[in-house]
């Protein structure tokens, strides 16, 4: 890659790309371009050049001037590149993040602010939070958790849990021992299961096809240790 202060010429698989500093004055650019081309005249002849000047839009007049300078050196102006088509140092991170976001969505991950409650919630305690709630303890009968996001209890859920409280139907309620007095997700309400929760292991409740269903949660590692 050959460059001056405001002009750079780079070789790519698709041909030559001429980088023009969008902040520079056009006259300066032309002068520098002439100098640059003169010094590299041998291996550039006959090539077609595409130009990139960031977001800067040049006038008709400036376009023709640029074209003339290039033709003097037997170079064809082949077009202008947009920012997306050009590899610019420091932009690589942006691409990587976009990739990651697509991946997250497919694997069923949800992000959001989360409240960690590192104690057992006794009867009469009410926890309300705009986001997800994780309880590292039990939720005793008479206690309640109201969250706009998901609820996860790393212990026994024996009280009332309301996930997706503002209407998020994709919210879930999970616990190591799911035996709530009442379970609510968004606008659906259900009683806890009638039979003893002993031996059922960790479970997760969500809305599937307009119904609140409870299924065994994946946590195989936990189950393995319990046996």
């Amino acid at each position: 890659m050959t460059r001056t202060e405001h002009v750079a010429l780079k070789g790519t698989r698709e041909g030559l790309v001429l980088y023009l500093d969008p902040a520079a004055d056009f006259g300066v650019l032309m002068k520098e371009l002439a100098k640059l081309l003169q010094n590299s005249v041998q291996f550039l002849q006959g090539a077609s050049v595409r130009c990139y000047a960031g977001k800067k839009e040049y006038t008709e007049d400036e376009h023709t001037r640029l074209g003339t300078v290039l033709r003097e050196q037997q170079l064809e102006l082949a077009g202008w590149l947009t920012s997306e088509e050009v590899f610019v140092q420091g932009k690589s991170q942006a691409y990587a993040t976009e990739d990651q976001e697509t991946r997250l969505w497919e694997e069923g991950m949800v992000e959001g602010s989360c409240l960690f409650v590192e104690r057992t919630l006794r009867s009469g305690k009410s926890v309300q939070f705009d986001g997800h709630v994780v309880v590292l303890g039990d939720v005793n009968p008479g206690a309640e958790i109201i969250a706009t996001g998901n609820i996860a209890v790393l212990g026994a859920l024996r009280g009332v849990a309301h996930a997706g409280a503002t209407g998020e139907r994709k919210a879930s309620v999970s616990a190591y021992y799911l035996a709530p007095t009442q379970l609510r997700i968004a606008d659906l309400v259900t009683r806890g299961p009638e039979d003893e929760a002993d031996g059922r292991g960790p479970e997760i409740a969500r809305i599937k096809e307009d119904q609140l269903i409870v299924e065994a949660a994946g946590m195989n590692g936990w189950r393995g240790k319990a046996r």
């Binding site: 006794r122 009469g124 039990d138 005793n140 009968p141 008479g142």
Partner: protein, 264 residues
């Protein structure tokens, strides 16, 4: 400097007053200077259970509002000269005393006595707040019933919020035969929910009814099973490690035969 222990439960009728009378008497019997304080203003019962209702002249509200000195209101027990009772008022209600007044009273009692047992009324309102105001330790009484456990859980939450940490639990009126049949919650179920240390288990016993009516706490009765349980609790309060009573009903011939053949 003495210790102020509050006996509370949340639910009514689980045995707070009975427990207060029995552990108070038990501690006095082992030689300590003990005062029992009834804070159930308007519905006083501790005096009846102790058999001292005829000797009341002044009460708790008189002391806190300055009508009389503490010494004038204290009633010496019939049986033990180192056991005293500060009765509640019957003609007033729980708004007659404030938590601040109770704190001052507790401080005064700590100077004179080794133990002050405060009998808390049922509920979570003013009466409860008054009773826990000056306390150092708390004992929660609970029966093996879902409703009682629910209320005990609430009370433990409130005690912890009031900085009375590590309350001890007494499970009262347990029936071992019913527990065996699966008709009654067992100790493990209760501890699973409440998650506090157990300080004693008292079985259901007819002798409690008799002792209440006579005004003689069961802890002095050598035959009563509940009395034995309270004696053990008294020792545990003083720091001794005592095993829980064996509450199993002695099995008859039929039970032993059944077990031989393989029935449970």
């Amino acid at each position: 400097m003495g210790e102020v222990i509050v006996v509370t439960s949340g639910k009514g009728g689980v045995g707070k007053t009975t427990t207060s009378a029995n552990i108070g008497t038990g501690l006095a019997a082992t030689g300590h200077k003990v005062v029992l304080v009834d804070t159930d203003i308007g519905l006083r019962n501790l005096d009846v259970v102790m058999g001292l209702e005829n000797r009341i002249v002044y009460d708790l509200v008189d002391v806190t509002s300055g009508n009389c000195r503490l010494k004038q209101a204290l009633i010496k027990d019939k049986r033990f000269s180192n056991l005293f009772l500060l009765p509640a008022a019957q003609t007033k209600d729980k708004t007659a005393v404030s938590p601040e007044q109770m704190k001052l009273l507790a401080a005064e009692l700590k100077e004179e006595f080794d133990f002050a047992i405060i009998d808390c009324p049922a509920g979570i309102e003013q009466g409860f707040r008054n009773a826990i105001a000056g306390a150092d330790r708390a004992i929660v009484v609970c029966t093996p019933e879902v409703s009682a456990v629910r209320d005990a859980d609430r009370i433990i939450g409130l005690l912890e919020a009031a900085e009375l940490r590590n309350p001890k639990l007494i499970i009262n009126r347990i029936r071992p035969e019913m527990v065996k049949r699966g008709d009654m919650m067992d100790i493990a179920d209760i501890l699973d929910i409440l998650a506090v240390d157990l300080i004693g288990v008292v079985p259901e016993d007819e002798s409690i009814v008799i002792s209440t009516n006579r005004g003689e706490p069961a802890v002095m009765d050598q035959v009563s099973k509940a009395g034995e349980a309270y004696r053990r609790i008294t020792r545990r309060i003083q720091g001794e490690e005592v095993p829980l009573m064996n509450l199993d009903v002695p099995s008859g011939i039929m039970d032993r035969l059944k077990r031989l053949v393989g029935f449970r």
